[in-house]
């Protein structure tokens, strides 16, 4: 493309925006609303993703003993576990500890336990497996290995839990894509119609340009640049509003689920840049679509 053309296109796009300030303001506002809905969804999705990853990062495993293990054998087991990558021992719960916590949980009904001659609860060692470092077969390997030790009665971990977690992740991703895609189309639809209004307001100008011999491309490009600028500004405003909402409202909310306190994260800088570029591209595509219908004749 000749440099004179390029300068003309940019100058023309900016001049048009300036001359039709009000129209553009309305257009950018409409786009900002569409993008805000889209970006809010993205933020929710990013956080769901973040939480599931956090939860999935570790799984716990319980090693139950036949009697009360003596300190030396316990230390031996702990030492043995050190050989496995990504494994940490969380805590040891002796038979007495287990009984104590059961009593606490029963509260007033704890008297029921007084009748027992001997403590039926097993002692237990809780282990954490980091899923980042360990392979999928590690839980099983660890189980067989530990169960060979004679003071160990049984090793439990939830196999379903892992597969359920993976299913949840998959579902979230799928829903995210479908929903995100729909929202994307909705935003595109709104934006296309917004841009169509600006173009319609200038149909005489387009006609005249064509009559004096401007090529389609020459007529279209300033509109495309305008659309991209509008989209970018709309996206920028949407992100700023979303960030303000995040700062003022969301970051003060304390979300607690069970023991875990969930922190709500904002979009990463790369993601923000990505969304801004996407906004510009949506504006560009929106212009292309609106112009396409216009140039049929």
């Amino acid at each position: 493309m000749k440099i004179t053309f390029f300068r003309y296109f940019v100058r023309q796009a900016l001049a048009n925006i300036f001359k039709n300030r009000l129209g553009h303001l309305i257009g950018v506002g409409t786009m900002a609303i569409a993008f805000l809905i889209f970006n809010t969804f993205i933020l929710v999705f990013v956080n769901l993703n973040h939480w599931t990853k956090e939860w999935g990062r570790s799984m716990s495993m319980s090693v139950y003993f036949k009697g009360e293990p003596d300190r030396v054998s316990l230390e031996n087991i702990k030492k043995e576990l050190l050989h496995f990558h990504g494994v940490t021992t969380k805590r040891f719960i002796s038979k007495d500890d287990a009984m104590e916590s059961l009593r606490r949980r029963l509260g007033e009904k704890a008297g029921l336990l007084d009748g027992l001659k001997e403590n039926p609860l097993p002692a237990c060692l809780e282990i954490i497996l980091s899923r980042d470092k360990s392979g999928d077969s590690l839980p099983y390997q660890l189980k067989t290995r530990l169960e060979k030790i004679d003071i160990v009665d049984e090793v439990q971990y939830s196999q379903e839990w892992i597969s359920r977690f993976q299913a949840i992740m998959k579902a979230i991703k799928l829903i995210g894509m479908v929903f995100g895609g729909l929202l994307f189309l909705a935003a595109l639809f709104i934006i296309t119609n917004t841009i169509k209004l600006t173009i319609y307001a200038r149909k005489d100008e387009i006609e005249i340009l064509k009559l004096v011999g401007a090529t389609n491309r020459f007529v279209k490009i300033p509109f495309l640049i305008e659309g991209a600028i509008q989209g970018f500004l709309g996206g920028l405003i949407a992100l700023i509003v979303l960030f303000l909402i995040y700062i003022i409202v969301i970051s003060r909310v304390d979300l607690r689920v069970g023991f875990a306190s969930l922190d709500i994260i904002f979009l990463s800088p790369q993601f923000i840049l990505f969304l801004l570029i996407i906004s510009g591209i949506i504006g560009f595509i929106g212009s292309t679509i609106s112009l396409g219908r216009f140039f049929r004749i």
Binding site: K2, T4, F5, R7, Y8, K19, D204, E205, E207, I208, L209, K210, L211, V212, G213, A214, T215, N216, F218
Partner: protein, 216 residues
């Protein structure tokens, strides 16, 4: 240069605007197209610069069949045809200079060159002082001259002028006609559509008379 073969043009279900029009205009000719209001003069010009396609029949301009011309070729062809529209078709949001510069801008002519040509052409048409005015701030006659300036600025092969003196007083009319003759003398094929008998009074040029869409 321009050839029409049995051209018909109908708008919707109304009486046809052009009926069986065949016409040949040679390179370098100066032709008047005349006839009462509604005779089809503007429609005929529109066929020539392809703002309308014939309902049936063929139009050949500068060797191109307009029924089959591609978008891009049409744009290139239109750059060689200057048109003074009956309703001027100036861009109200651009000033006189920018309106006149348009014909060169679309060709990618460098800005310095555009400036030179535009000043020169506007001076030629007595509009040097109005460069910064916007069309709505101009009189009808001034707007007409801006339209002429835009049509001639890139030395077109063909100049189509639709009632180019419709808004002008007798003095300016004489001036514009002299201008058109001058452009013609430089080799441009000029076609002027007018219903003014005054303009045709003692011309020796070829006159094509239309009535109710037919050449008479």
């Amino acid at each position: 240069m321009i050839q029409l073969f049995n051209v018909y043009k109908t708008f919707g279900s109304k009486n046809p605007a052009l009926i069986d029009v065949s016409l040949k205009i040679n390179k370098g000719e100066f032709v008047f197209i005349t006839g009462p209001s509604g005779a089809g003069k503007t429609t005929l010009l529109k066929i020539i610069f392809c703002a309308e396609k014939p309902t049936s029949g063929h139009a050949l301009v500068n060797g191109r069949n307009l029924n089959r011309i591609k978008d891009r070729e049409l744009s290139l062809l239109r750059r060689r045809i200057g048109v003074v529209f009956q309703d001027f078709k100036l861009l109200p949001g651009r000033n006189v200079f920018e309106n006149v510069a348009l014909s060169l801008e679309i060709m990618g002519v460098p800005l310095s060159m555009i400036r030179k040509k535009a000043h020169q052409t506007l001076r030629y048409l007595g509009l040097a002082k109005k460069e910064d005015y916007y069309p709505p701030q101009l009189s009808g006659g001034e707007q007409q001259r801006v339209a002429i300036a835009r049509a001639i600025i890139n030395n077109p092969l063909i100049l189509l002028a639709d009632e180019p003196t419709g808004n002008l007083d007798p003095d300016l009319t004489m001036e514009i006609m002299a201008l058109l003759r001058e452009i013609h003398s430089k080799g441009t094929t000029v076609i002027v559509a007018t219903h003014s008998q005054e303009l045709l009074k003692d011309t020796t040029r070829r006159i094509v008379a239309l009535n109710k869409g037919r050449i008479v």
